[in-house]
Amino acid sequence: MKFTLKVWRQDGPEAKGRFETYEANNISDEMSFLEVLDVVNEDLIHAGQVPIHFDHDCREGICGSCGMMINGQAHGPQRGTATCQLHMRKFQDGATIVVEPWRAASFPIVRDLVVNRSAFDRIIEAGGFVSVNTGSAVEANTLPVPKQVADAAMDAAQCIGCGACVAACPNGAAQLFTSAKLQHLNLLPQGQAERWERTENMVETMEEYFGTCTNHGECETACPKNISIDFIAYMNRDYIKAKSLNRKLAGQGLE
């Protein structure tokens, strides 16, 4: 297969970027999109030019580092797939593919297709954890969890923090990421102790860095882990509860 790639090149955070056109020849339909970028980079290195910078790590869809807009869609045209697992058989032979980094004020471009996603870490720090005693692990069935709850928590816990939801959202909102990280803990018994404090802190930290949801639903279609916007509704519900419950605790001097 042959492709023409139009790739965003930007030398640094402050530099002015531009699209560069590259030809990718002799591409197998079983290659992943990142492997095509590898092929292009090989050619660039041989020609003495600077290769295209892009984030990648596991290449099996679980680390969340690879992420780019491919033909105007986060992680490309295939649903529920990260860029590393997007195979070239999904594209027409000879097609022109436009590749661009995520765009958001809180995802500044580091170089080319690499963005700084550390704003997500600020949201996690605000409450995306549970406090547990250290030591040997507790008996597996000490805390009973209903099957449906465990399944829902697992669906939320699939989030790999790639940032596709923010990138795809017309408002640049991080609601899907935050709600997934929030609800996979809020659903489980281990997450109950800090539930309301967590909800308040994570939502308010999210709003310091990202836009806000107007229910376009675009994030859900971009998510490589198919996380549902149901979690956003759940977060909205928990946030209002958290606000009034935390108030009660404050009134009792138990803040």
Binding site: R103, H216, N236
Partner: protein, 251 residues
């Protein structure tokens, strides 16, 4: 919590776009966050939906003749009279609607103002939207159209502003409607505005469930259907009135 001093250059490169406000007492504190503002939008939206549905339903009386329609208009002014003074509940409803409208507008403006700072450099290639439909992305256009229409509609049939409706006679609601809608440019304004209202409702009546956290696998399918049917009913009802006058069914 964001750290006061960044621990690394990576962290230092990302600064918040919004300062966390000083918390006001509950329940005002809810309105300080955008998640809370969306709640207010949804609740005021529900008030708007109830009003629009009642308004459309009541106006169907137009088809039952002038006498019936005048009686309906009179009934609105005397709800719960003589237990409460005449027009009392009418004014309660009016002030409530005005309050809801003001809050809805303020929340919308505030959310728009925040979201426009979020992506200072937009996508340089063409975006390909999958889920975001035409209705959801035109809320900021259909909204102002509806707002302008509300002003026009009040001037036309409530206040009877000379420049808008020269044949207006206070209390003669049936004749006022006929006089107004007989003019085709006015009828066109009503039809266009109600289509915009329908598009606004198509997104809003679904979106409010998400904002309020009303989400349950048993009802999720029904939410879209509800929004579509609600929008369709409002548009069909409201557009039928000017058409009926233009076609001579109501005269």
């Amino acid at each position: 919590m964001a750290q006061a001093t960044p621990r690394s250059t990576v962290e230092a490169a990302v600064r918040p776009i919004r300062k966390r406000p000083k918390p006001l007492p509950w329940p005002l504190s809810l309105y300080q966050t955008y998640v809370g503002k969306k709640w207010v939008m949804a609740i005021t939206g529900v008030i708007g939906l109830l009003f629009v549905a009642g308004h459309m339903f009541g106006n169907i009386k137009m088809y039952m003749g002038e006498q019936e329609f005048l009686h309906y208009a009179e009934g609105l002014r005397t709800v719960a009279y003589p237990i409460v003074p005449e027009k009392f509940l009418l004014w309660v409803a009016r002030l409530g609607l005005l309050g809801a409208l003001v809050l809805h507008l303020h929340a919308a403006f505030s959310i728009w103002n925040h979201n426009r700072k979020v992506r200072p450099v937009g996508y340089q290639s063409r975006r390909d939207y999958i889920a975001a439909d035409w209705a959801s992305r035109t809320m900021l256009w259909t909204g102002p159209i509806i707002l302008l229409f509300i002003a026009f509609h009040l001037a036309d049939l409530t206040w009877g502003v000379e420049a808008v409706n020269p044949d207006f006679q206070s209390g003669e609601v049936y004749q006022n409607v006929v006089a107004s809608f007989s003019r085709w440019p006015v009828a066109t304004i009503y039809i266009v505005a109600n289509v915009a209202l329908g598009i606004h409702i198509y997104h809003g009546a679904w979106s409010l469930f998400q904002s309020l956290g009303v989400n349950n696998p048993q009802i999720n399918q029904g939410r879209r259907i509800f929004a579509a049917l609600f929008a369709l009913a409002i548009v069909a009802g409201n557009v039928s009135f000017p058409l009926a006058v233009l076609l001579g069914i109501v005269e």
